[in-house]
């Protein structure tokens, strides 16, 4: 029975390897968490919060793009829906606590995601991208003309308010830890989704949709659910962003924003958990640094060049390339 022993040996060594990899991942996550907790002592909290909001937005998109293989070119609509809903509620109803405003903003995006999803999942690939893009443009026009959005100027002076009626969010440090908590909740949720049987089906759909259909999965329902979840998380990012900056602007609804979040995800590494976070951090930092210097007007062309470079040269993104490198050289 030589073959069986070798098989169990192999199995054991695989399990061992997986365990050691898991431990490495846990240590890495712990280090990152500590860094995030300590970060506001070193860096400007508002800048960090901007990164976290966009990181959550990119993580949400990645659930679709990286794990389900659906390229949504209209995710700005969900960011804006969450942003405007929360902004409107907190400005108009002073009695509302901040977290209520955020919850309703997220719910609005979930609902919008359901509507978008029902229309868009009927088509695949490029069509899917174009349909989400067009739907998002519809939402953009709505936000331009609706009476409560402030049109081109956007909605200013949204109060940050009190968390649970207790914690004063006007303190940047308090706000930072709240945003961090929301981000971590969203991140862990996506991690759980991706690791769950549901997430496995999503990956199967990405790899080979007809096969997933023939295995008996109701593919459309899975896609729709992934779409709605992603939309809700994007809305959450928008809601929190509005509270941080006390502003809901038309920029969030413009299709360039949809492109930018795709760039963040792609650049960091699609289909990796940490990738979108790294990508968002990179892009936000780059934009911030460029706007400070003489290259302020060149943000768009530079982002475009990064797009071209990423697609041409390192499609797995920063995190993906690092993983490939480790796999090649460490084992």
């Amino acid at each position: 029975m030589a073959t069986t022993t070798t098989q169990t040996d192999i199995q054991e060594s695989i399990v061992k390897q997986q365990k050691s990899e898991q431990r490495k991942k846990q240590i890495l996550n712990l280090v990152l968490l500590v860094l995030l907790l300590l970060a506001p002592a070193v860096l400007y909290p508002v800048f960090l919060m901007k990164i976290l909001c966009f990181a959550l937005f990119a993580v949400a998109l990645n659930l679709l793009l990286g794990y389900t293989g659906l390229l949504s070119f209209g995710h700005a609509a969900f960011l804006a829906a969450g942003s405007y809903t929360t902004g409107y509620l907190l400005s108009s109803f002073p009695a509302l606590t901040t977290e209520m405003g955020i919850v309703v903003g997220t719910a609005a995006s979930l609902l919008l995601g359901l509507v978008f999803g029902l229309v868009a999942i009927r088509r695949q690939g490029i069509y899917f991208a174009m349909i989400t893009l067009a739907l998002a443009q519809l939402v953009y026009f709505f936000f331009v003309q609706a009476p409560f959005t402030g049109g081109e100027d956007g909605m200013h002076g949204v109060p940050r308010g009190y968390l649970f009626g207790l914690v004063d969010l006007n303190d940047n440090n308090a706000m930072y830890y709240f945003v961090l908590a929301v981000f971590l909740a969203g991140y862990l949720l996506v991690q759980r989704i991706v690791g769950s049987p549901f997430g496995q089906v999503l990956k199967a759909i990405k790899q080979n949709e007809p096969r997933a259909v023939s295995l008996g999965y109701n593919v459309d329902r899975y896609k729709l659910l992934a779409f709605v979840l992603s939309a809700g998380l994007a809305g959450l990012a928008g809601s929190v962003k509005t509270v941080v900056f006390q502003l809901a602007s038309l920029n969030d609804a413009h299709w360039h924003m949809s492109g930018e979040v795709i760039l963040m995800t792609l650049l960091g590494g699609t289909g990796t958990l940490l990738g979108p976070v790294v990508g968002a951090g990179f892009v936000v930092t780059l934009e911030y640094q460029l706007s400070q210097g003489p290259l302020g007007d060149w943000v768009d062309p530079i982002l475009g060049a990064i797009f071209v470079l990423t697609v041409m040269a390192f499609r797995s993104g920063i995190v993906g390339e690092i993983q490939n490198f480790m796999r090649k050289n460490m084992s």
């Binding site: 490029i126 991208a129 174009m130 349909i131 893009l133 475009g304 697609v311 041409m312």
Partner: protein
């Protein structure tokens, strides 16, 4: 003054006219997209930028060299088309056969670069291009006033659209193109230079966009951002029409221009959004688009 549905006929026909003009541009642009998509399976996100380049080129040729309108109308598409071929050769070719998403993102990146660089040089406020002398004025049709240039735009756009349709559906070169979309390996086996064919197709699609841009230069404000918004509309037009047919792209383009024009009369606030609404309705009823072949 006679009225239809409470709207003066002159207003209605004026908007109809504007609608057909806009529709002509939609038709030219979606036709270019359809041609490129047909053989390369690329959604050319840089199409709006190519349209913009065509218009900018027309203006700059005049400013720098005094090139007149008629020469520019020919020269601008050729220059931009050559630029397109260079792009295809150095960038797009290298990701052929990969997931469509990458070509979409690549062309999006190219569009960002072009638009951003030109914005930095010329600003967003728009350049002026004076109408060629021949087209000053217009004629009174009794129920409406028709400026000559607008009439010329419609005629020129329809001629080019018809020419393209004829070339693709009725000539030998067109049959190579269509065969290339079906099975490029087999075509290669017959001794057809498919990579060259692909380059030329991309160049030709880009030329159509640049031609639309050159046509637009005298009537629209020419600026580096002019392509960005029309592009999204054209994508919606393409989804409504369905990617299957060349004629479908043209007909849908004209139709959507008219729909937009009428909306401007009856519900001005909705005119920017109506095409996207039509798209949603069409998708719900016919997911493959009005002229789409695939199920």
């Amino acid at each position: 003054m006679t009225e239809i549905l409470g709207v003066p006929v002159a207003v209605l026909s004026g908007q109809l006219m504007l609608g057909i003009i806009n529709g002509s541009f939609y038709a030219l642009l979606s036709l270019g997209l359809a041609v490129i998509f047909g053989l390369l399976k690329i959604i050319n996100f840089a199409h709006g930028a190519m349209y913009m380049l065509g218009a900018m080129c027309t203006v700059l040729l005049f400013d720098a060299f005094g090139v007149n309108y008629w020469v520019a109308l020919f020269l601008a598409p050729v220059i931009v088309g050559c630029f397109g071929i260079v792009l295809e050769y150095f960038l797009l070719r290298r990701i052929a056969g990969q997931d469509h998403i990458y070509s979409l993102l690549l062309t999006f990146g190219i569009a960002l670069i072009l638009q951003g660089v030109l914005t930095n040089i010329y600003g967003v406020s728009g350049l002026r291009y004076s109408m060629p002398e021949v087209f000053r004025g217009g004629m009174n049709l009794g129920f409406m006033f028709l400026p000559y240039y607008r009439a010329w735009v419609i005629v020129a756009a329809l001629l080019v659209c018809f020419g393209t349709w004829f070339m693709i559906e009725k000539t030998r070169l067109g049959s190579y193109l269509r065969a290339g979309t079906e099975d490029s390996q087999l075509m290669q086996g017959f001794g057809i230079n498919v990579p060259l064919l692909i380059s030329l197709t991309y160049g030709f699609g880009v030329m159509l966009a640049a031609f639309a841009g050159a046509l637009a230069a005298p009537i629209y404000s020419v600026s580096p951002v002019m392509g960005s918004n029309i592009l999204i509309v054209v994508f919606a037009v393409v989804v409504i029409g369905g990617m299957g047919s060349i004629a479908g792209a043209v007909i849908t383009g004209l139709m959507m221009g008219v729909v937009e024009g009428f909306t401007k009369v009856f519900y001005p606030e909705g005119s920017a959004a109506v095409i996207f609404l039509v798209m949603v309705v069409v998708l719900l009823i016919r997911p493959s688009g009005l002229f789409g072949k695939e199920a």
